[in-house]
Structures are given as C-alpha cells and as structure tokens.
C-alpha cells in the first residue's frame, strides 16, 4: 500500500500506471476526520440540490399541466385594470326600457401655474365653449392654485375642439354624468341626481343606497307606454282648462304597483334648474313639487266612496237604505247643500250616483265619529303612506280628540280632511279589489306574487262598491268617462279650493278615480286637476265630470289594449246582471 504513495509522490512514476482500485486505508488521525467531514458536507449539498431540482420539476409540472392556476397572475400584468364600474346603477322600466343611466363625460380643468398668458387662453376658451364668462375665467386662470375647474361635462365635440386648441395646462378629468333619455316624461317618479352623483329627488333620492355604486339596474313598476299616454292626456287637460296643477296615477289594484305617475307642471331631470320653455313663468319649486305623493288635497266628493263603504261594511245602512236629501243641513255656521240637488229622499246608490252632500253627511252621521275614524285609519287615510319616494305628504284632519259632529259630516263628503292622491288611490283600489289594502310601490314585483295586504272591508262590501262605482259612470256624475267596452266604474270629486282661508265659490279642484273592468277590476286610474277653468267646450264647467272624468276615459281607452284588457259588450245580460244592484234591477234609473 505504501507503494502507491510512493508512486504518487514519485515524479518519475510510469505514465500509464494506475494504482489498484481500492481506497487507501487512511489511518485514524486528522486526515480521516477531514475526509469524514467532507463526506457529510457532500451529502448536505447534494440533498439541497435534489430538493431544489424537485421543486423546479414540481413547478414545471404545475405550469404545464395546470395552466389556469398560474397563467392568470401573469396575464394580469398585461391586462389593464378594467375601468371602474359606473358609479350609479341604471334605472329601467318594467319592460326593461332604460330610464336613467350613467355615462362617461369629460370635464375640463386647468393648472394655472402652467398657464402663461391667461388672457389669451381665456379668449380662446370662451370662443370654443359657450356659456363661459371671460372675465371670471381670466381671474381663475391667473390664480396661484394648482387646480381650477373650467367647465364640467363637455360633449365629445367640445372635448375635441379644446384638444385642437393645444393649450398646455388644460386637462380633462373623466367624470360620470347621469342621463335621462326621456326627459320630463318621468320627472317626478325618477327625480334626478346632482352633479356629484347623489340623488336629490324621486327614486334617485329614495333609493340612493340601492343605486350608488351598484351595477345591477333597479327595475321600476312604471310602464313607459302608460306613462306617456297618461302624461299626454294630463297635459291636454292641464292646457285645455288652464289649470294650476294636475296629478295622475295608474295603479294595478291587485298588487299596488304604480304603472304611471304624472305631476304637472313638471321639469326635465337632465336640467332640473332650467326654466320650462313652454311655461317660463312657472317657478322651479312648483315644477319640482310632486303633486301625487307630496301634495295633500281636500278631494271632495271622491271621499264619499269611503263613507259609503264604511257604512255598508259596519251595517250602518244597506244598499236599500234611504236618506232625506230634500233640504240643506244647517249646523252651526255651516250649511251643507247639494250641487245639483234632487230635493227628495235618496237611496244609498242614488246618493253616490248624484253625489249628494246632504245624503252622504247623513250616512256619515249614521256611521258615527268613532267608527269613521277607525275605518279611515284602517284605509290608511290618517297616516303617511309608505312609499319608495322621500317626497311623501301626510294627511291633514281634525284632532281625533275634537272630532265633532260637523267634522263627521264634512269628512263624510270629503271636506275638512286632506289626503295625497297616492293614498287615495291605494284606498280606492282596496274598495274594488275585494277589500284588500296593499301598500303602493314603485318597484316591479315578481309576477303572481302580490303582497299579502290587509283586509279592510269585507269582500261583500267590496262587491257592493263595484256596483256603485259602475252606477256612477252609467247614470251619475261620471257619465262623461265614455270608454265603452271597458266597463269603467268610478267616482268624481269636485272640491272648492280654499282661497284666503275661505272656500271659494268658483275655484275648484276636480278629480276622478276610475277602475276597470268593473266585473273584475284590474287597473285604477286617478286624475286630479287643480284649479281648472271652464272652457267653451265644457260649457264653462270646471267640475270633475267635465275635466277629470273625460281624461280618465280617454286614458283608459288607450291603455286597455296595451294592458291586455279585452273590451266586452256592456249591455250584455251577463255584465248587467253582475253589476246592477238587486234593488235597482228592472227599474228605470234617473240619469244625473
């Protein structure tokens, strides 16, 4: 063995000499220890390398065989972040028509520190963008601030024109802008949102939390087609009778969904503070005022349906009951008289048909103050309605503790109590739909899922009310409705307006609530015209029968085909049989 060492150390060893293939026996000592340590280190190092290669191999398998997990972050580096979703959800109608949306719009701002010749820049900008004040702009551009708005929400053409000017220091910020394609058609229902995307009126305000920062659109119960028809017919009444205001509503009586809602005069939500080109003198506050939900009005005779319904429901009278309406009632300093008095005893259907104040006051007396209050509360007429809008008025009525006899009588025919058209519509729907009061809503309900509602009068009373509604239109004050085939029933209401604390003799508020088809009511139309003036065509009359009732009739004729209501022969025995009170069958009925 020592020979090997000899040869290795020997510089003269033969060139091809190979030492025997066996490890040299290293005796114990420092060399042996060094060799052992080296082996250990080699083991550690090779284990580390094996581990590293295993990791690389594993990674390779992961990358090649399961691409999804790994490629996404890689791609994400190349994929620009998607633009932030629109800051406000769209609003659509019940058929998906776009009623309000949010669009990108460029806004121009400047960094005055970069602008050298403020006067020149101001001159160029004023020439390019209309509606800028040159002196004011120049002051802005000379300021020492780093940021001033010049004009917000430019059109794409204006953006292009400003870019063409090539002025350094001018920048565009991309902002969002709320757009209402239908303009004033839906002004009060939708309302509007301010420049900073906060809802300021209507649904935009009422459902601000549901709209802000959301993407899924809010679907309203409004039907755009019905809204247009109602708006057109209301505008016609409003203009024809030079009225001060008007409110209209179409409601599904079985669900409480509001299908159309119009309040006149109205505004364009795209420019809520611009004057109306057709009526430049109407103040903005008046146009913003929602007469359907916020205004509360003494509605007059329309209220008689509630008095009659409560009297029939509590058994104070029956369909054959009769009351003496021969002479006016004098109570205290008041005199209750009829507009077109028949001056005789009237039956309950006749009192409603001819809209007798005397008869209705006596019916109210028969009901009594306590029961009257209880029923009105049940009908939701003594509390503010719950609704999606924030513009909600509350009814006004005498203090329940001091509900005197004269109050009972006047409230019986709709004076001395004021209600919003919205809650009148809900309560009137309950009178004809089988007696179930449902909360009005502006949101589309899933089909065949009517809310529970509250039974406020019995189904039998409601059946009587349907017959009475129909009689009013057939023979009574509502004869001008004129919507043959749709079996309309309803009630007029003409209230004297209060002017200077006194009831005016010739200034009125006319309204009509109609439902159709009365055989099984589906839809309700309510129209109120505030302060109409008689015309030649109406022979000088401004009462509900001449103003609101024909408007409701025209509306129903136009909307019924869209709502799928089939016209029927109104003189067919089946319809007559279903809607004529037993006590009047076969009798001649005196027309109003």
């Amino acid at each position: 063995m020592s020979a090997v060492h000899q040869f290795k150390d020997n510089p003269c060893r033969p060139r091809h000499f190979k030492p025997p293939p066996c490890a040299p026996v290293v005796p114990d000592g420092p060399a042996r220890r060094a060799l052992d340590g080296g082996r250990g280190r080699l083991l550690v190092a090779s284990t580390a390398f094996v581990l590293l290669f295993a990791i690389i191999a594993g990674r390779l398998v992961q990358v090649t065989l399961f691409p999804g997990a790994v490629t996404v972050p890689y791609i994400a580096r190349f994929h620009p972040a998607p633009p932030p979703p629109p800051g406000r959800a769209d609003i659509i109608d019940r058929h998906g028509k776009l009623l309000a949306t949010t669009l990108d719009s460029p806004s121009l701002y400047a960094d005055p520190r970069q602008i050298t010749d403020a006067a020149e820049v101001a001159r160029k900008l004023v020439a390019t963008l209309p509606g800028l004040d040159r002196a004011q702009l120049q002051v802005k551009l000379k300021s020492r601030k780093g940021f001033v708005w010049i004009k917000r929400h430019l059109t794409p053409d204006q953006e292009y024109a400003v870019n063409q000017l090539g002025i350094p220091g001018l920048q565009f910020a991309h902002e969002e802008r709320r757009v209402y394609p239908y303009g004033s058609l839906l002004s009060h229902a939708i309302g509007y949102a301010g420049i900073d995307d906060n809802g300021l009126a209507g649904i935009e305000r009422g459902l601000d939390n549901q709209l802000r920062g959301r993407q899924e659109p809010v679907q309203l119960s409004i039907d755009l087609r019905l809204q247009y028809i109602l708006h057109e017919e209301m505008q016609r009444v409003f203009d024809d009778f030079t009225a001060k205001g008007a409110a209209g509503l179409i409601m599904n009586v079985n669900t409480g969904e509001v299908l159309a809602m119009v309040s006149l005069p109205d505004f364009d939500p795209n420019h809520p503070d611009m004057p109306d080109p057709n009526h430049p003198n109407v103040p903005i506050a008046q146009r913003m005022f929602n007469r359907v939900t916020l205004g509360d009005y003494e509605i007059g005779s329309m209220f008689k349906i509630f008095t009659t319904a409560m009297a029939l429901d509590c058994g104070a009278t029956t369909m054959t009951g009769r009351f003496d309406a021969t002479n006016p009632i004098h109570i205290g300093r008041f005199t209750i008289s009829d507009y077109h008095g028949k001056r005789r005893w009237l039956s309950v259907p006749e009192i409603l048909m001819y809209s007798s104040n005397i008869g209705e006051a006596k019916i109210a007396l028969a009901v009594g103050g306590v029961r009257q209050q209880e029923y009105l509360r049940r009908f939701g007429l003594l509390t503010s309605p719950t609704f999606e809008l924030k513009e909600i008025g509350r009814p006004h009525f005498p203090d329940p503790a001091h509900w005197r006899e004269v109050n009972v009588m006047t409230i019986g025919f709709g004076h001395g109590i004021s209600e919003t058209p919205l809650q009148l519509a809900s309560a009137a729907a309950a009178m004809v739909n089988g007696g179930v009061l449902r909360q009005a809503t502006l949101l589309k309900l899933p089909p065949d899922d009517a809310p529970q509602g509250r039974q406020v009068i019995s189904p039998e009373t409601s059946a009587h009310m349907r017959k009475l509604f129909r009689l009013v239109v057939q023979y009574g004050t509502g004869m001008m409705v004129d919507a043959p085939g749709y079996v309309v029933g309803g009630k007029t209401g003409t209230a004297n307006r209060v002017i200077g604390g006194r009831y005016s003799a010739d200034r009125v508020r006319s309204s009509f609530v109609g439902a159709f088809p009365m055989t099984a009511p589906k839809y309700l139309v309510l129209v109120m015209v505030d302060d109409p003036h008689g015309t030649k065509a109406s022979h000088g009359f401004a009462t509900a029968g001449w103003t609101a009732a024909p408007a409701v009739g025209r509306t129903i004729v136009r909307i019924a085909p869209l709502l799928g209501v089939q016209p029927v022969d109104e003189s067919s025995p089946a319809v007559v049989q279903a809607l004529m009170p037993v006590s009047l069958q076969g009798k001649r009925i005196e027309a109003y």
Binding site: Y74, I75, R77, F78, H79, P80, P82, P83, P86, K97, L98, L99, T101, T102, L103, D104, V179, P181, Y182, G183, L185, L224, R225, Y228, A483, P484, G485, Y486, V557, R558, A560, P561, Q566, P567, D569
Partner: protein
C-alpha cells in the same frame, strides 16, 4: 464518444433555449394582443352604454308619435277593432289534395293580387293575412270544376269556418282608410318627403 454526447447536449440545450425564447416572445405578443383586445372590449362596453342611452333617446314616445304622424299615420286601435281577438281567427286550412289543388290555384291566382289591397291593414295587424287571402277567395273554390275538391276543402276547414269572412270584413270596414296602400308606396313617400 464523449464528443458525440457533448454535441448532442449542446444541440439540445440550444434548441431548448431557442424554443423557450420563441415561446416567450409569442406569449408576449399574445399578451399585448390580449391587452389591446380587452381595452377594445372596455371601449366597446362604454360605447354600448352611450348607444343604449342614444337608442332610448331616439325611441322617446313623443318622437315616435311625430314620426308616425309624418310617415305612417297609424291611429290608436279603436275599441270596436278589438271586439274579436286573434284567437277568434281560425288557422289556415290544410292545403287541398294535390290533383284538385292545381285547378283551385289556377282559379285563384288572378284574384290574389286584387285581394291583397283591401286586406292591407288586416295583413299588417296579425298572421290573419293568410286566412284573409283564403277567405277572400271562396268563390273560385265553389266554382271550381271539381265540386269534390271544394267539398274536401270545406270538410277539412275548422268548425268555425263560416264565421271567418264576416269577421274579417267587419274588421276591414272599421279600420281607418289607410293613406298608404303598400310598402312600396310607403317607401316612395318617405323618399319623396326627404
């Protein structure tokens, strides 16, 4: 031997390297393309929002009403036009047997052009146009030289067949007289008014 394996590995390494860079550049190009496409998609989405709003604006009911008045003069459906529903109109009867059919067609062909004009408004309303044509030509069927064929047609028609001609005539009478008699005339009118 050693040289050969070295050469083999060298070639393999360079081939792998080349392939890797090729793939890398390809991926980079694809990523650029992806970024571009997704930017385009975002732009398109924004454009769609604008176009949706534009479409809604152009479809304002008052604008449509004005256009209708200018070009079409359609009127709202009158109540009396709705007294019969589409369901009342029977389906088109099945075609008569082939041999006799030839005779029937020969008889009806000259009438067909004439029958289209009065039934214009009805045809525009509903699929009633087909029965309208059929019902407007009951005579040729009755006069056809093969009475057997006529009987076959009658027998195959639905039970409500006799009511059909009256219905459609009534509807045609109630319709307002259309100003535009055909689509061609309408197009000509539109072109003229421009």
């Amino acid at each position: 031997m050693i040289r050969l394996s070295t050469l083999f590995w060298l070639i393999l390494v360079s081939a792998t390297g080349f392939a890797m860079f090729a793939v890398k550049y390809e991926v980079q190009a694809l990523a650029d393309q992806l970024a571009h496409t997704s930017r385009q998609a975002d732009d398109a989405e924004r454009d769609v929002r604008v176009l949706d709003a534009d479409w809604a604006y152009l479809n304002r009911p008052d604008a449509l009403a004005a256009m209708n008045q200018r070009y079409l003069s359609l009127l709202p459906i009158a109540t009396k036009q709705l007294i019969a529903s589409v369901a009342d109109i029977p389906m088109r009867p099945p075609p008569p047997p082939p041999v006799e059919a030839a005779a029937v067609v020969a008889e009806t062909t000259p009438q067909r052009g004439g029958s289209l004009v009065p039934s214009g408004p009805v045809a525009a309303q509903s699929p009633a146009s087909a029965p309208a044509q059929q019902s407007a030509t009951p005579k040729p069927i009755a006069q056809s030289p093969a009475p057997v064929a006529a009987a076959a047609v009658q027998a195959r028609a639905p039970a409500s067949e006799p009511a059909r001609p009256i219905l459609i005539k009534a509807a045609a009478r109630h319709n307002p007289a259309p100003r535009v008699r055909s689509l061609d005339a309408l197009i000509a009118q539109i072109a003229e008014s421009r």
